[in-house]
Symmetry: C2
Subunit: 314 residues, 2 copies
């Protein structure tokens, strides 16, 4: 795919390993925003590769993993976190000198531990995590604007090659993201709070409802607009991806869960003792965070996430 | 406001006491769908009454609570649950014979206990709860289609006048809702699970984040698209309304919270012991409920609640 714009693409060949929601969105975005001259894709599942071909997501012909990696100057591992080490080992023999190897995993310290030992010293491993996604999975669910106005966190080693880090940052900015850099450990702590704990809680409350008998379960579904349904969206995310996140960010998740449990015990006590003043003070405090999220463009202020079936008519 | 349709309106005069999101939405809907000949509104807050006048939500001139109730054959109390008893006492002297008194409270047994003793025996108290709302409050946030395709639960006494119950059901159906009938106690148990517990959990996790220092808090907001922001919407709901719900549905909420805590301990244990099989099995199970909610039209299947800033372009 040749470039028609004034600037040449940032990369000659982008290789995407693992083509789910994120991998396929990167492929679509990279093509649309012209940040690479060509794209190759490999996925271990034949059914996924069939969709890649049908959707015409890659430029090069479909082949083995070595074929996908060959000549690539940017390789992004887009598998669940638990598979990153194995993928690194598989791609290592085919990596060309000075290539950038990156990933999109939701945990970073564990990925660094698993990937680094397998890579040759002549490549640059720069972990990344785009904070973007939907509750859907698989190559068909991706779209080119997924990363627009979303953050992508890079967690390079302290002695990483600065120009390579810059090149990867430009790639993410080129497909619409805003880039921030931090240590893998700090990333894992922040994401444990903003992402991993909320998902765990959402999975848990949906599970609690599911444990009831058939009648209650059907009533829960019927009356879910009263709050419950907001939790079901993120509890519908990919189970394997989330298993791997909890297994690989265990300590930070358990710490956040400990804090959450302490706070919940305090709320429980207010309810049991009928402490209305403390309850309303608590519920007032939490409104401010919502306002900040909307002001910073990280969510929409349209009521009910704008999901009313009907338009507001007066 | 005279009717132009073939059928006469169900009611002569609807009086709405308390004009927030729900009260003002009922007023708008009742006018649009022509289910009452006229509408009066009373709210104890002068600032709210100013908005009622500016928005032209009522037909009759603004006056005291007696003026609003006088001649009304349907009175709907739309205040927070904790104020229902006081309102019932205030309106009692003005209620005409055979009027229907109803409410919109999110708990029912406590409302019945608080309201019934104050009402004269010549009126019909039929509690109701429309399962609809947004995270916004106040008369300006209402809209006429809020109840479309949403459930409204009626909890009449066993010896309630059947034709009055039917008339109130037709009112709610007339403004777009689907009506279901159950006992106050069953309502409170089901809603503790579908609504009160999710709100409590959402308030709690937002509070946990708020307890961190300024730097972490700003990172939580920045990276909230990773899951956290879904919780902030319902944690931005009206604090007084929610205080009253927890104070008035204490036992059912504490029971559901107990179950939630047990389940969370089990998940915590799976994470601590690295039990990946149990985690992925658990996360797979919860997807099914999401699917049912979408199939029954209680939520939208558009990715991410359809809140991408950008359109899907390929």
């Amino acid at each position: 795919m040749s470039s028609l714009s004034a600037q040449p693409p940032l990369f000659e060949k982008l290789a995407i390993i693992g083509c789910g929601l994120i991998g396929s969105s990167i492929a679509r975005a990279a093509r649309q925003f012209n940040v690479t001259r060509s794209i190759s894709i490999y996925d271990a599942q034949p059914s996924v590769m069939e969709r890649v071909q049908a959707l015409n997501l890659a430029d090069s012909k479909i082949g083995g993993i070595g074929h996908a990696i060959e000549g690539a100057d940017l390789i992004i591992i887009c598998t669940p976190v638990g598979a990153c080490g194995r993928v690194a080992k598989e791609i290592a023999p085919f990596l060309q000198k000075d290539a950038i190897v990156s990933d999109v995993g939701s945990v970073k310290a564990a990925v660094v531990r698993q990937v680094t030992p397998h890579l040759p010293t002549h490549v640059h491993f720069i972990p990344a995590h785009p904070i973007a996604g939907t509750e859907f999975s698989g190559p068909d669910s991706g779209f080119s604007t997924l990363f627009q106005n979303r953050w992508c966190i890079l967690t390079p080693e302290q002695n990483a090659n600065a120009s390579k880090v810059q090149q990867l940052a430009l790639f993410w900015e080129g497909i619409g993201a805003k880039v921030e850099t931090m240590s893998p450990e700090h990333h894992d702590k922040v994401l444990a709070l903003t992402s991993h704990l909320p998902h765990l809680i959402a999975y848990n409350i949906v599970g609690t409802a599911d444990d009831f008998g058939e009648q209650t379960r059907s009533e829960v579904i019927k009356f879910s607009a009263s709050g419950f349904r907001d939790f079901t969206r993120i509890a519908a995310s990919d189970p394997i991806m989330w298993r791997d996140i909890f297994l690989n960010n265990r300590d930070a998740v358990l710490e956040m869960l400990g804090r959450f449990n302490e706070d919940l015990s305090a709320l429980q006590r207010m309810i049991r003792h009928g402490d209305g003043d403390s309850l309303s003070a608590f519920f007032s405090r939490t409104r401010i965070i919502r306002q900040s999220i909307i002001e910073q463009g990280q969510d929409t202020p349209s009521p009910d996430f704008g999901r009313q079936n009907q338009k507001k008519t007066n």
